[in-house]
Symmetry: C2
Amino acid sequence: MVTARQIAQLCGVSVATVSRVFNRPATVSAATREHVERVARDLDFSPNEAARALSRQRSTMVGLVWDTDHRRHSWRHPFLQDLLLGLKSALSSRGYHLLMLATSDDSGSRNPGASLADPVAYVSMTRRHHLAGLVLIDSGTDAEAFSAFAHSGLPCVALDVALSGPRATYVTSDNASGAADAVRHLAALGHRRIATITGPHGNVPAAARTDGYLRGLAEAELPFREDLVVTGDFYRESGFAEMRRLLARADPPTAVFAASDEMAVGALLAARAAGCRVPDDVAVVGFDDIEVASLVDPALTTVAQDKRGFGTAAAGALLSMLDSDEVPEPVRLPTKLVVRDSCGSQR
Amino acid sequence: MVTARQIAQLCGVSVATVSRVFNRPATVSAATREHVERVARDLDFSPNEAARALSRQRSTMVGLVWDTDHRRHSWRHPFLQDLLLGLKSALSSRGYHLLMLATSDDSGSRNPGASLADPVAYVSMTRRHHLAGLVLIDSGTDAEAFSAFAHSGLPCVALDVALSGPRATYVTSDNASGAADAVRHLAALGHRRIATITGPHGNVPAAARTDGYLRGLAEAELPFREDLVVTGDFYRESGFAEMRRLLARADPPTAVFAASDEMAVGALLAARAAGCRVPDDVAVVGFDDIEVASLVDPALTTVAQDKRGFGTAAAGALLSMLDSDEVPEPVRLPTKLVVRDSCGSQR
DNA sequence: CTGAAAGCGCTTACAG
DNA sequence: CTGAAAGCGCTTACAG
């Protein structure tokens, strides 16, 4: 590998000058700068990252904290691929790379009480690698553990969980508006008994979607009925179970807003199992717009999140913290109601 | 951050000894080893990775080459999340981390002729970070570009593409057997005119699945008919288009083996659009067992790949190359036929 | 605008 | 078994 020293010798300058050409080009005379740049390009030189990180005490890597060994064994992010895509392309435009952090705990056994694989190990990992910043993906119950990161002073941006700290912010969808849109849409179709299957307690997006449900109801001038709010956990099985219970009631709802597509799919299956037609007997609307939404039968009407935008926004917030000391405001991504067949408005 | 020097001073030994305790514990006397270990643990010391990488000329990171800015804008891996999960947990058990490589090209514009974002840039990235090895995810057309990596001498393991080089190997599913299983299953159900919608030309798994189709036919003593083999590209649209054409024929097939679930879903939609009932009028079997397979209507019979096993096997192959000079044989993961409704055997 | 020098925190022959 | 020393390849005050 060609080193700065070699470039320096070839150009008849010191390594310090070569370094300056790459780090503070303005402080180098145009002539020598161009000379160094040309030679460096010809020899395909680029500074060794390990050496650079060592001397600057900061690498060009951003850590990704993604807890994969969660108690909920089947935990899956609804749109990890898009997220990574967005993160990667936004980060790479500024020369940063994503390091998927893993602790030895990830490999297997763990004491089942812990919510995130040893946050201390992650924080130490972070220092060892001189990471420039951290992106935190919430798996639903890591919120508390995340504060260890937020308080480490490192630039942090969390996804879908409110994070605060000296250099921490977060990005989330405008969950309340999205949910309100869904409910208003159902109300406009004539539904008066609109139930909701919420996400788990303590989850930020879940709470916001429930708020949005209430707001949508109020905006449509529909009364709030406590018994129409049932609690799920974002996963399909809970959607199935809660829907079954709702349909077994004496006065079942005529429409259901599920706070995730997974639950909405579960609800669809429960309706089918109960011999209940969707949307004729009961309308269903979901949230997320994951791939299956358009494939289930009937195709699911849902509130789409800007999946790739999540990654882009997270990267943007992180990058801005890397250049300045200002902490960006939390980002709230707009959502979009995607009308398909399960709500009945297409008939 | 606590450094080896501090530990050394506290223990009254040299930094060299501290280093040895962590790297060649056998060369240190039991007494001093234990002393150093205890102090290090108490102070939560762990060696700085940048310094270590610099002096050893090798980091504890494994690069992930995942081309996200492909010409095929909508390129998606069918099970990236499971793959990453498997990779991460297997790698972390040995202290390695995954670095998602990105070149500046990833951010946007690229000359449309290139099949992988500047492989040269990736290779240089690899050296700059002193990566220990590389995992290559094929997006279907990167095979050629991958050889640049394979010949760099760095330990490489590719997924779903045959890679050879001084220290390169690959992992793939046993695509031929899986396809043969699917075809034999259809034949056992009485089908005699079994068509296949293949993957794209030049793609390794696609070719193997076509081979398996032929083998299955032969094993069921069914004649091969060239006109029953049509070419898709693994994506839904091609499945839709090819299925439509197949069904429009004078003597349409009674069963179709699609070389991917995405295409099988497309085929299902085409059948529905053509007023053709599945499985009554035509049976469909897919390949992959992605999440939607169980959700489409009718639920898709398919050949399941060991998604997480891909990651685990890739990590295993890489790790073994990291400790020894032997190059592991290519890994061929077993597949499993998952019988649901679209093949008609459940009736 | 540029160079010499110190320093980032490890690892590893080389002596002893 | 252990230490002193050189070296990994950069960056950055400090002089000039």
